[in-house]
């Protein structure tokens, strides 16, 4: 462990997930306060100074111990991800290799600012797979609120699918359904009760949600939601610790595996999309040209791209 790691892991630098930049913690404020009291109490009895020195030593010890533990945990997580990635045939994405805004799903447009981190990429047969942490943020009553997700996306080579989203039913969507704004309903009542299916093309929804897919989706854990658009399959969850990345990878692999064979035949790829790296905005006729966004991006040391708040 080197000093740079340790400094990086001090409480004002480390958050969970890493993308959150935490404000100075209570420990730091306490330490500064104790130092000030020590300076003011210079003239008082020695036992007061000794007490203050002990308290300061305790606080410093606590901070250093917690920083060491954080560094160790971070290392352990990294090693865990490396092992998972190796098993799944993934590698860390190169800087600029991944462009979040090339993905067509509305979740990546939601919020006032967005960003992504820990981007891994690999090839499974003909398909390209991406795994990454993603967050979007917005201001609510003067407070910054951020939603964090972990996503896996597969880029299919031979399909151009209309938009389809498979999310869990909630009281809100159920009420809308009762009022007549029904989602797409397949032949399984049980599935219809548990899932909210929306999309542009009913025929595609039925073709994609074949009986075997319906059966599998009903057995998936509630935290996972699915979407399809263009050549992309997406599986997303609320933020997952690295120890649970394998669950997500298994989900996207099974989601892809259960995609009916008939999809590439019925919805063939007409325009070859660009890989999500680089800047596709200059390509004439490209249907997934990246829109101009009033946002900045920065690249961190690991090559992943982080979104930042607009000024």
């Amino acid at each position: 462990m080197n000093w740079l790691d340790l400094i990086g892991a001090l409480p004002w630098r480390v958050g969970k997930p890493d993308s959150e930049a935490n404000p100075p913690s209570l420990e730091v404020i306490g330490l500064v306060g104790l130092l000030m009291v020590g300076v003011l109490a210079w003239d008082t009895a020695p036992y007061v100074l000794i007490s203050i020195a002990l308290a300061e030593a305790l606080v410093i010890g606590f901070i250093v111990t917690s920083a060491v533990r954080r560094v160790k945990r971070h290392r352990r997580d990294e090693e865990h991800v490396e092992r998972i990635a190796e098993r799944a045939g993934l590698r860390r994405a190169q800087p600029g290799e991944f462009n979040l805004y090339a993905l067509p799903f509305p979740i990546f447009r939601a919020g006032e600012w967005q960003g992504f981190d820990h981007v891994w990429v690999g090839e499974w047969g003909d398909d390209k797979v991406w795994v990454f942490d993603f967050w979007n943020g917005y201001e609510l009553r003067g407070q910054d609120v951020e939603d964090h997700f972990t996503c896996a996306a597969i880029e299919l080579r031979h399909a151009d699918c209309p938009k389809l989203s498979v999310t869990r039913e909630n009281p809100w969507s159920r009420t809308w359904g009762h009022l007549g704004w029904r989602d797409i309903e397949v032949e399984s009542d049980d599935f219809n009760r548990r899932f909210d299916v929306s999309g542009d093309d009913e025929r595609f929804a039925f073709a994609f949600l074949a009986p075997s897919m319906i059966d599998w989706l009903q057995r998936t854990p509630k935290q996972f939601e699915f979407a399809v658009e263009g050549p992309w399959l997406l599986c997303r969850s609320r933020w997952l610790p690295t120890a649970r990345w394998w669950d997500l990878l298994r989900m996207i692999r099974d989601f892809r595996g259960r995609m009916p064979k008939t999809i590439p035949r019925l919805f063939p790829d007409t325009v070859r999309p660009l890989a999500p790296g680089g800047d596709p905005s200059g390509v004439p006729g490209d249907r997934r040209a990246r829109p101009e966004r009033p946002r900045e991006q920065s690249q961190n040391a690991s090559g992943s791209v982080q979104g930042v708040r607009p000024a």
């Binding site: 032949e187 009913e202 039925f206 595996g257 009916p260 064979k261």
Partner: protein
Amino acid sequence: MNASGAFLVAAVALVVLLLGGAVSFNRFVSQRNHVREAWANVDTELRRRYDLIPNLVETVRGYAAHEQATLEAVTRARTAAAGDAGPPGSQASTERGLVRSLRDLLALAERYPDLKANERFADLQDQLVETEDRIQLARRIYNANVRDLNRRVQAFPSNVVAAVMRIDEAEYFEIEEAIRSGPAPAAV
């Protein structure tokens, strides 16, 4: 409440009922059209299959001419199915006969390796698989529309509108696949 107040309440209730009835009726009309449209799609896909069968029969005949009974059974079943313009229940019955005879025809390929290796036969078989997928897809969409319509025909209060406007339940269409395609191969 005086007489004019009671009249007003009754008038408002009547208007609400009429409006509700009109909305419900319009939704029935829209659902009935969806069912018809979905059935037309099923019909289109079935016809696509009828068009494939003569070529398939001729190709098989080139390798297994003495399997006359099987070949004639397919031709007869095809003629019966293509000529059946009845309701979905009746068509499902003739289609089942066609599916059975098609399965017998495809099973012949297992006994004739030359036929199985024939490029044209393989191509026709692929086309048949695709057509079966299309039929099953159209059938599922049709049945989902039928279920939505039937649910409203049976449930209160829309069943009152259905009874008054003489909107009947639609028939489901259930057939099996002659040849099955599985899910796409797993990526890893």
